[in-house]
Symmetry: C2
Subunit: 328 residues, 2 copies
């Protein structure tokens, strides 16, 4: 079974209108927007399934499109109403094709507000909607001011407590970015690096031994620059590689060389197949003869990986982490 | 000849005292601090030469230690006096061992002030002290507030004009970082990524066709994540790899896998040997049987590189870019 652990909903025209209305009318965003009619939802789902079938993906874990989460838009009700809408939309997808999708909750994070404010929606998504994991944005300020403390800080503990109680993994993934020097796509990568160093330099995994963290986009820059961090750890008689294994990573890295490095540094036991398809890399690469996000074909070509390695990356690791995804 | 293009001065006790006095007395930092006596300078230089000889480095290009540049410390005279001191210190090194060192100027950048304020000191360093290049910090706010515009912005043009007139390369390298969630060492990497995307998304190289930019630390995260940026460029019918070749990169990446990826993505024609020795990675790596910053041994072991490739990386590319370094 091929599980794409990193995929996002594709908004239909009606959903974009909901977003626009929320943005324009953000003085009074309390009224809950209605989902598109069944016929529209059905069409969106068929479109997604066709894209999955094209590359042999059996199941996608769907979360809100990260850069559209509006975490920094005032007032706090904007990201709240929008997160609920997105989670309901994802839930509708799963209802239509329950063998092909699982839901990953978006959280109504808001600027530098305590993430405790996200607990109710997380509880709803997991307990009422049957979601199996959640996104976590390390910088809900989205570049519009000083970010909250790093993920290793106690600031995040109320949310970690709930996450552990629910036994769900966290997919660390930033959202938008307001600063002109850093695109949201570049921020995904930089925030991944910052998240890793904050978590591994903290007491989080001592305080929450069952916390399961997946760093999206192949762990930002850390695998490429691991030598730099090994150095500091050797000095302190510590083992950075061992620490790194406390985390998981997805394979949203769109080059053969990058994926090869990811597997060599982080190990096939710690990597989950993910493509973000359809997304940034859904574009034909003439050199490969297929789209850049058709990553299974790339991983299949990495010849030092064993069949067992690939089985773990495509399915095994995901099943192990997402305990709720296949519960009967 | 083995040229280490990325190396920094090691401050002696007297120089640390100068820095401390400047920091403590920053209301009145105008008085120019004196360099340590010749005996101290001689000892420091001998220490550096010993470390170079241990790994077979013939020449180092010395710049100020980046994280100690104090670019965000108020008032502006603090980084100015300190940059001048560091440049004089480096000049003294070159005077003692002119066959082993070249000077790379630190600039008195100050928070979000126009880099035009750095031109006088750059002119002094190149014309009076014989320096052959300069550092450039993309975020002299050092995380203490919103950074200035990206390196692709016209904000930087007055400095680029001077740099082109002097025909010196720029080594892009951030300095300190005040925000607890991002260490200065991690910021080096993140700022490298931001710098690349800002430069390649701008008109800078059309407006300054002779501008020579070296992105330190192996180009931040960009080579590892090149697929992501290729995707956006393929969509616009552009070639990201071709654009990337407009830049140069140094080899301050301390793993075999990382260096292998750097050379495969950026190409041996665009990489300059650099180790930052002595620095972060001057620590014994039991797995290699030598220090992590003894990178020549690592590069020598990458078997697909040809002798010609290695000659370019160790010497040729550096000579080509740093036209003033070997002028008679």
């Amino acid at each position: 079974m091929i599980i794409d652990s990193h995929a996002h909903v594709v908004l239909d025209a009606a959903s974009y209108r909901v977003m626009a209305t929320l943005t324009g009318g953000r003085n009074n965003p309390r009224s809950m927007a209605k989902l598109p009619p069944d016929s529209v939802l059905e069409k969106t789902v068929q479109g997604l399934l066709a894209q999955m079938d094209e590359v042999g993906t059996d199941m996608q874990f769907l979360s809100p499109r990260p850069y559209l989460q509006m975490h920094s838009l005032k007032p706090a009700d904007v990201p709240l109403v929008w997160a609920r809408y997105n989670n309901d939309l994802i839930h509708a997808h799963v209802q239509i094709a329950p063998d092909r999708f699982r839901g990953i909750a978006g959280l109504p994070q808001f600027r530098d507000t305590s993430p405790a404010a996200c607990i109710d929606e997380l509880e709803r998504a997991v307990s009422d909607l049957g979601f199996v994991g959640c996104l976590l944005n390390p910088d809900p300020m989205e570049g519009d001011g000083p970010p909250p403390p790093g993920l290793g800080d106690e600031f995040w503990y109320p949310l970690y407590e709930k996450i552990c109680a629910l036994d769900i993994p966290v997919l660390v993934h930033s959202a938008g970015c307001c600063h002109p020097r850093e695109s949201y796509t570049l921020k995904f990568i930089n925030e991944g690096s910052i998240a890793i160093m904050s978590l591994l330099g903290s007491r989080v995994f001592e305080d929450f031994p069952n916390l399961k963290m997946i760093i999206s986009h192949g762990g930002g820059a850390i695998p490429y620059h691991i030598g730099r961090f090994r150095a500091g750890h050797i000095r302190r008689n510590q083992d950075f590689d061992a620490k790194l294994k406390r985390l998981h990573f997805d394979t949203c890295v769109y080059s053969t060389e990058g994926l090869d490095l990811l597997f060599r540094i982080c190990g096939p036991d710690n990597c989950l197949f993910g493509t973000e398809r359809p997304g940034t890399a859904s574009v034909f690469n003439p050199e490969w003869g297929h789209e850049l996000d058709d990553l299974k074909r790339v991983i299949d070509r990495i010849d030092w990986l064993t069949d067992e390695d690939r089985a773990k990356v495509y399915e095994g690791n995901c099943r192990k982490l997402y305990t709720r995804a296949f519960a009967s």
